[in-house]
Structure formats: structure tokens, C-alpha cells
């Protein structure tokens, strides 16, 4: 059989495996006492993993309905890992279906692999939705308000009192072709300038907090995109490692002969590839920026919410933290005083004085 025929056969194997998996599981469940609530449709599905996963999950829930939460969580992990295993077969199938025609057309392995990697990169970018993201600051602003509204719905009237409609002022040019800078460029060219302008009116403090919060949120979106791109790089590395490993085994006459073998190969290669990427300067920078941006946004978000909380006489996080800090410092002081008392009592006992020692050795609670 030619490689093309074998790749086609692999594709058929993938489809048959899915059918086999789901039929076999359904048979097993029907032969026992566990009947799922509904049977997924079969046959017409090009992808049976999701229905299988649903069936699998339902059966496990039924079987473990009286079991502990730990058992149910554990069963979910097994479901996820089985589904991932099947996805790995799918990914492998697709990879070889794309690669084999290139090899048949006379491309050498390195060129074919590199072409395939470029294809994967583009797919990853598309899948991340980066190209479909909001392209104007108005859209960004709407998204931001929507997110803020989730937690601050009762207070949204306050926004309406702000001078003018801020969203109408936020018109900018977001035609950046640099995907990772899409948000950032739009923000800098328009809204970024407004953040530093003095506010006015009785809501200026709140307005300022909301504006700087938007800045932090925009920065978080940008850092998030960069982080996703760094992870996308990791997937390229993984694919490359897996396919190279397969090719090496082919050259050694040691092909993969079982699904378990294929899963082990993926796992080992993927973790090696990920570690390589996780140690790279590019990834470390993206991870650092993402975490820092998330933390900064959280702080800005808190400032806005605390303004609303103060309006309603609700204690704020900052106030509760302050109270906790005071209690903590008092406890430290108490501990230090107890230690001092104890040394005084010990010194008195050593000097043979008859004074009764204070009770200090008992637990504090």
C-alpha cells in the first residue's frame, strides 16, 4: 500500500474507531443497568467524539450518582482524558492526510513538515478569534461596559450621569495589521490620550476610575492575545516533535501499533515540546505580561466597585483588609507581650522570688 492509501486507511480507521467506541459503550451501558437519558444520533456525524463524550459522561453520572464528589470528579477526569486521547488520533490523522500528498509530490520531509507547520500556525491564529475581534474602540468600550455591568448592574445609572456619552467620543482608527497590536494601537491612538486629561463634573472621580479601568482592561486584552500567541507557538513545537518522532520510528522500522502507543508518544513529545517553549524568553515575557496585566486590571476593577460600594454603605475590600491588618498587628503585639511576660516570670522564678508567675504558656486559642 502507498503512503497515500495508508493515510486514507488511517482516516477510515479514525471514523471507524469513533463509531466503534460509541457503539461499544452504548452496548455496554444497555447490557448493564445504566441507561443514558438520550442516545446521540449516529451515522451522519462526521465527528462522533462530542456525542460519545456526552453519552460517556451521562453514564458515569448515573453510575456514580450516589458516590462521593471525589469519585465523580475523578470520573470526569477519565472522560476528559479519553476524549483527549481520541482527539489526538484525529489530529494525527489530519496531519498525515495533509502531509502525505506533499511527500508524494516529491517534497522532502523537512519542507513538507515546515509547510504543514505554517498551515497549523494560520489555523491557530484563526481559531483564537484574533482576526474576528472587535476592530474599533467603540466595540471595545461596549465590551468593557458589558463586562463591568455584569457585576455592577444595580449601579449602572451612575454611568448615565456622566457628562456626555463616552462611547460616542471613542472613535478611532484600528486598522492595524499587526494582530498582536490590534487593541493596543487603537487604544493609544484614541482613548489612551483621554485617560490623562483632567476630568470634570461631580462624577469626575468615578469617571477617572472607569477610564483608567478601561486602560487596564485594554492592556489585559492585549497581553492575553500575546499569551495566546505564545501558546500557539507551543502547539507548533508539539506538532513538529510528534511528527518528527513518528518519522523517526518509521525510519527505524518501529511503527506505532496501538492507540495506547500513539497516546504515549503524543504525551511525551507534547510535554517535552511545552517545556522547551515554557522556558523560552518569548513565552516567559508573554506569561509575565499577562499575569501582571490581569493583576493590574483586578486592582482597577476593585477601585470602581468600591466606589459603588461606598455609595451604598457597603464595606469595601480595602476597608476589610485594613480591619484585618489591625487585628493582625494587635495579635503580633499580644504575642510579643506574652513573650515578655514569660521572660519576666522566668527571671523571677530563677531569682527565687515568690511572686506568682503570670499564666502565659497556654495556647492562644
Amino acid at each position: 500500500m502507498t503512503w497515500r492509501e495508508q493515510a486514507d486507511s488511517m482516516s477510515k480507521l479514525w471514523m471507524d474507531s469513533q463509531r466503534q467506541l460509541i457503539t461499544n459503550w452504548a452496548d455496554l451501558m444497555q447490557s448493564g443497568t445504566v441507561m443514558p437519558n438520550s442516545m446521540p444520533m449516529m451515522g451522519a456525524y462526521p465527528d462522533l467524539i462530542e456525542p460519545w463524550r456526552k453519552l460517556y459522561g451521562q453514564s458515569m453520572d448515573t453510575m456514580l450518582s450516589d458516590s462521593s464528589a471525589l469519585s465523580r470528579e475523578f470520573a470526569q477526569q477519565i472522560t476528559t482524558s479519553q476524549a483527549t486521547m481520541m482527539r489526538l488520533i484525529e489530529m494525527t490523522t489530519r496531519a498525515w492526510q495533509t502531509l502525505v500528498p506533499r511527500l508524494d509530490a516529491g517534497e522532502d520531509w523537512t519542507t513538507a513538515l515546515s509547510g504543514y507547520m505554517a498551515q497549523i500556525r494560520q489555523q491557530t491564529l484563526d481559531q483564537n478569534g484574533i482576526m474576528h475581534a472587535a476592530k474599533s474602540t467603540n466595540e471595545l468600550w461596549a465590551l468593557y461596559l458589558e463586562q463591568m455591568q455584569f457585576l455592577s448592574r444595580p449601579y449602572m445609572d451612575a454611568f448615565k450621569q456622566m457628562p456626555g456619552s463616552m462611547s460616542n467620543t471613542l472613535v478611532g482608527n484600528a486598522n492595524s495589521s499587526d494582530v498582536s497590536n490590534l487593541y493596543w494601537t487603537a487604544y493609544q491612538e484614541t482613548f489612551g490620550r483621554l485617560v490623562n486629561m483632567p476630568g470634570f463634573g461631580f462624577t469626575r472621580e468615578l469617571q477617572q476610575k472607569v477610564l483608567t479601568g478601561f486602560g487596564a482592561w485594554t492592556e489585559l486584552r492585549r497581553a492575553s492575545v500575546d499569551f495566546q500567541l505564545a501558546l500557539a507557538t507551543a502547539w507548533e513545537t508539539i506538532y513538529e516533535k510528534v511528527l518528527n518522532e513518528m518519522m523517526m520510528r518509521s525510519e527505524q522500522g518501529n511503527p506505532i501499533t496501538s492507540i495506547a502507543d500513539l497516546t504515549r508518544l503524543w504525551t511525551a513529545a507534547a510535554d517535552q515540546g511545552l517545556e522547551q517553549v515554557f522556558r523560552s524568553d518569548q513565552y516567559l515575557e508573554a506569561q509575565r505580561n499577562f499575569v501582571n496585566a490581569a493583576m493590574k486590571y483586578r486592582l482597577h476593577e476593585r477601585e470602581v466597585y468600591e466606589t459603588f460600594a461606598q455609595m451604598s454603605n457597603i464595606p469595601t475590600r480595602t476597608e476589610v483588609d485594613e480591619a484585618h491588618r489591625n487585628i493582625y498587628e494587635l495579635r503580633r503585639e499580644l504575642r510579643a507581650l506574652k513573650k515578655q511576660l514569660k521572660s519576666v516570670a522566668n527571671a523571677a522564678a530563677t531569682n527565687g522570688q515568690q511572686t506568682e508567675a503570670p499564666e502565659v504558656a497556654s495556647p492562644t486559642e
Partner: protein, 366 residues
């Protein structure tokens, strides 16, 4: 012509998937019989003898008559990350039970689960407050001037700090899988572990300002990301093979129970530990300051037993062995176990040899 890399026949695949499904079903039947009580960890008999905030000091119930116990107790100080139950996972995998059986008087610090109110707890509180409070309590209740201290992992690092600052209260110091040189490369020349690499670049003060405490779930996520496929996929694919065996399944579930029981990290302490130890590597440089006192490991003159794991990917052996260069003790012993970080508690080798090693060493240094 080369062989096509994948040679899985449809018949073999069908057979393999059918077997896998059957194993899962049989395993689920075993799983459905188990309750949460079956997977409890840290069950060795013990009594709470002292409390300070959320800390509880336990004394493990001796199996020998009091008069036959070794007279100098051993205080175990475990890490703040995860719970000390790993030293007592189950009856036949328990460092603590093994020490108790050998006649040692074992006390264990349970740091508890810090809440947001504990955000301000610092290294000073943990070392000069909590550990010192436990040592003082044991000394007073047992009429002693000194006790033995056994520090594990991060708890070992804190024990080194404590012994350096309060050497008069510690008779002998034992440290297990304890990092001392946080920037040490692995023995084979590979760079430090991923956690270390990630930790170095983090603005932990900003994290603590934003979150107060650092959530245990976030810490767990970090651990899982060290080997995302191995720890999230392969582990649960492989477990299907042992699910039918109730004993093996219980072992697995107890480990899961321990791994995912991760307390939040008190904010200030976390920030101090990451910046001072992980990022600036101040312990080995003699630059750690606690309550305006310098932690100088040369102050540790009492006998020291340093136990490390040869295959430890979290605390590589060189990170532990660095203690030899800086500790003041003339009586310093290093012992390597051919296991990984967790294997130090659960491997057959550790079960057989670790407690006797500690017991013999402590008795030889009475």
C-alpha cells in the same frame, strides 16, 4: 520504502477500544462502592495539643508506653504548599506511623487553611511566631530545653531559618527535600525547574496586592502546567488499567485527594518567600532578614541530617546539597534516596528505610 508510521489495524483498534471501555465500566463499579471516608488521608491517631490562629499542633498517639518513648520529641514542620498528610497517606504508606512505631515522640504542625484575614502573616510570624510557639509549648509540656526539628521541603527551609535564629532550642536538625540554593542547576547540568524559572519573573507583590492571598487552585494549576499532558491526560488514561483493583484505586485516589487539597498561601508570606528565596536566592548568600535579624546558616552548629531525593524535579539534589557548604555544623550527614520528591513519602524504598534512618540518627545524637 519506509514503513508508514502508524500501523494500527482496524481489528486491533476495535479490540483495544472495546477492552478499554470494559475496563472503565468495571472500574466504575469499583469506584461506585467507595465513599469519601475510604480515601481519607492523614489518619494516624493524634491529639491536638496547641493552637495559634489557624495552626494546630498535633501530638501523634504513641504506640509504646510513655516510659519507653525516646525522650526528645521530634517536631515535623511541613511546607505551606499542600498539606502534611502526604507524610501519612495511608496505613502502609506513612512516614509518621513508621516513626511512631519506632518509639519516637512525634509532633506535627498543621498550618491550616489561611483565609483572607491571614493575608498579612509574614515569614517572621511563621518562624518566630508559629514554629517558636510550637517548640516552646513542647519544651514546657515535656520539661525540656531542646527538641529535635524535622523540616520537610519549604518547611525545611523555614526550619533552617528557625534553627539559625534560635539554635539553643534545637537539639538536632533534620531536613528533607529542602531547597537551600534556589538557583542551583540540576545535577545533570539542566537548568533549574520550571516553577523556579516562572517564579523568578513574577511580580508577586502585585499579585498579592490584587488577590490578597494566592489561591491554592492557582498553585495547583502551576503544578499541572509543569507536565500538562502527562498530568492531565496520560495519568487518567493509564489509571483505567488499575481501576478494577480496589487497593490500587484507593492508593491512586488518596494521592489525588492530597494533591488537590491545596491551601491558599498567606499573601505577605508568599511574596516574601518568592522574592527573598526564589528570586534573590538570599538564603545561601546569608542575606535573609527576619525581624531585623540575619539568617546565618553558619549559626547552625548542632548535628544536621540532610535527606534528599536523587530524582527530585522540584528540589533538585544540588539545591539541597548546597547546605553542606554553608551550615556551621561539624556533624553533618547527607543521605540520598533514589526516588523523586513525592517518592520520598510513598515509595517502597522510603517506606522501608526512611523512618529507621531518622530514628537511628536521632538516637545516636541523644
Amino acid at each position: 520504502m519506509k514503513t508508514f508510521p502508524i500501523q494500527i489495524s482496524p481489528e486491533d483498534a476495535t479490540q483495544e477500544l472495546a477492552e478499554m471501555n470494559q475496563k472503565v465500566v468495571r472500574g466504575l463499579r469499583t469506584l461506585s462502592r467507595l465513599t469519601h471516608d475510604d480515601v481519607q488521608v492523614g489518619t494516624a491517631p493524634k491529639e491536638a495539643v496547641y493552637r495559634d490562629g489557624k495552626l494546630i499542633l498535633y501530638r501523634h498517639t504513641p504506640v509504646l508506653p510513655e516510659a519507653d518513648l525516646f525522650p526528645i520529641p521530634v517536631l515535623i514542620s511541613y511546607a505551606l504548599v499542600n498539606r502534611p498528610a502526604v507524610a501519612d497517606l495511608q496505613e502502609n504508606r506513612s512516614l509518621i506511623r513508621n516513626l511512631v512505631k519506632l518509639g519516637l515522640d512525634v509532633y506535627l504542625i498543621d498550618w491550616g487553611y489561611p483565609s483572607r484575614a491571614d493575608r498579612w502573616l509574614s515569614l517572621d510570624d511563621y518562624v518566630n511566631g508559629f514554629i517558636d510557639g510550637c517548640v516552646e509549648f513542647i519544651c514546657e509540656s515535656r520539661g525540656l530545653d531542646q527538641i529535635n526539628l524535622l523540616g520537610i521541603c519549604q518547611g525545611g527551609t523555614m526550619s533552617l531559618c528557625y534553627t539559625s535564629l534560635h539554635p539553643e532550642k534545637i537539639k538536632n536538625l533534620i531536613v528533607m527535600v529542602t531547597p537551600v540554593d534556589f538557583h542551583a542547576p540540576a545535577a545533570d547540568g539542566t537548568p533549574p525547574g520550571l516553577l523556579n524559572v516562572w517564579g523568578r519573573g513574577m511580580d508577586v507583590n502585585l499579585m498579592v496586592e490584587a488577590m490578597g492571598n494566592v489561591p491554592g487552585d492557582l498553585m495547583n494549576f502551576g503544578f499541572l502546567m509543569l507536565q500538562p499532558f502527562g498530568l492531565n491526560v496520560q495519568k487518567y488514561t493509564d489509571v483505567v488499567d488499575i481501576m478494577e483493583d480496589e487497593g490500587k484505586l484507593l492508593n491512586f485516589l488518596r494521592m489525588e485527594e492530597w494533591i488537590f487539597d491545596s491551601p491558599d498561601q498567606a499573601g505577605v508570606m508568599f511574596a516574601q518567600f518568592v522574592t527573598e528565596f526564589f528570586q534573590k536566592n538570599k538564603l545561601i548568600k546569608g542575606e535573609v532578614q527576619i525581624a531585623n535579624e540575619t539568617v546565618n546558616l553558619a549559626n547552625i552548629k548542632q548535628p544536621v541530617l540532610n535527606i534528599f531525593a536523587e530524582k527530585d524535579h522540584l528540589v533538585p539534589p544540588p539545591a539541597s546539597k548546597a547546605l553542606a557548604q554553608i551550615v556551621g555544623a561539624e556533624d553533618y550527614t547527607e543521605v540520598a534516596f533514589p526516588v523523586g520528591h513525592i517518592g520520598m513519602y510513598v515509595s517502597g524504598k522510603a517506606q522501608k528505610d526512611l523512618a529507621p534512618l531518622i530514628n537511628d540518627w536521632v538516637r545516636a545524637h541523644a
